[in-house]
Symmetry: C2
Subunit: 110 residues, 2 copies
DNA sequence: CTTAGATACATAATTCACTTATGTATTAAT
DNA sequence: ATTAATACATAAGTGAATTATGTATCTAAG
C-alpha cells in the first residue's frame, strides 16, 4: 500500500471476509491470498495478523484446528456462526463508509 | 461513524479536499461542512482537526489569514499550490485504496 | 553440503494518529 | 441568567498498527 494509514481498521474485515470466501485457512495462507487479491498492494505483517487472529478466536468468531505437515505445525482457522454474522456486519460497515467518503470527497467510486 | 476505526488515515484527505472544493474556510466551518456532506456520519473532533491543520500549515500545504468577527477571531485556511498537488495525490490514493479493497473484499462499490 | 529464501508460527517494544479531557472566550437563544 | 452554539487550542491517554526479534522447518541453488 502506498498509504498504509488508510489500511488501519480494515484488518479484521479483510481477514474475516477472506476466510468466508476461502473456507479453512492458516495464517501464512491468508497473507498470501490477500497479497494476491490486492496485486501486492496489501501485505499483512505477522505482527498484526497473528494477534488479530488470536483475538478473533478468543471472541468466539474463529475456531482453530492444528495440523502437522511433516514436522511443521499449521493452525487452520475457520469462521464460527458468530463469525459469519460479524463478516456481514463488517463488510456492510465498510461499504457504508465508502459511500459516505464518496459524498465527502465528491468522487465517483467503482 | 459506526466504525470510527475506518476513518483513521482519512482526516488529511478530507480536510484538503473540502478546502479545495469550498475555498477559504475556518476550522469550525470545516467540521460543519463535513458533518453536512456525510449526513452526520463523520464528525471531526477538535482534538484531531486543529493539530492536523497546524501540521499542514507548517508543511506549507495551507496558508492562513486571521480575521476578527466582532470580538471573535477566525483563522481562515486555504490551499497553497503545493497543497493543491497534495489534494490530488491524496484523493487518488484513496480511490486506489478503495479499488484494492473492492478486490480483496469482493464487493461492488458505487 | 551449506546457505539463502520461503514457509510458519509467536510475542514484545515502540510508534503515532487519533480520542478524550480540559481550558479560554464570544455570541445567540430561552 | 443560563445553556448551547461558535471558535480556537493543547495535553494526556489509547490502541491498532509497525518494527524488531525469536524459533524452527523446508527447498532450491551453487
Amino acid at each position: 500500500m502506498h498509504s498504509p494509514e488508510l489500511l488501519k481498521g480494515t484488518l479484521q474485515t479483510i481477514v474475516l471476509k477472506v476466510l468466508k470466501d476461502n473456507g479453512r485457512m492458516y495464517g501464512y495462507e491468508i497473507t498470501q491470498r490477500v497479497k494476491e487479491l490486492s496485486d501486492e498492494r496489501i501485505v499483512l505483517t505477522e505482527g498484526a495478523l497473528y494477534p488479530a487472529l488470536h483475538k478473533l478466536e478468543a471472541e468466539g468468531m474463529l475456531r482453530t484446528e492444528t495440523e502437522a505437515i511433516g514436522k511443521r505445525v499449521r493452525k487452520y482457522y475457520s469462521l464460527t456462526p458468530q463469525g459469519r454474522s460479524l463478516v456481514k456486519e463488517r463488510v456492510n460497515e465498510f461499504v457504508e463508509f465508502i459511500k459516505t467518503m464518496g459524498n465527502v470527497l465528491q468522487v465517483n467510486i467503482g
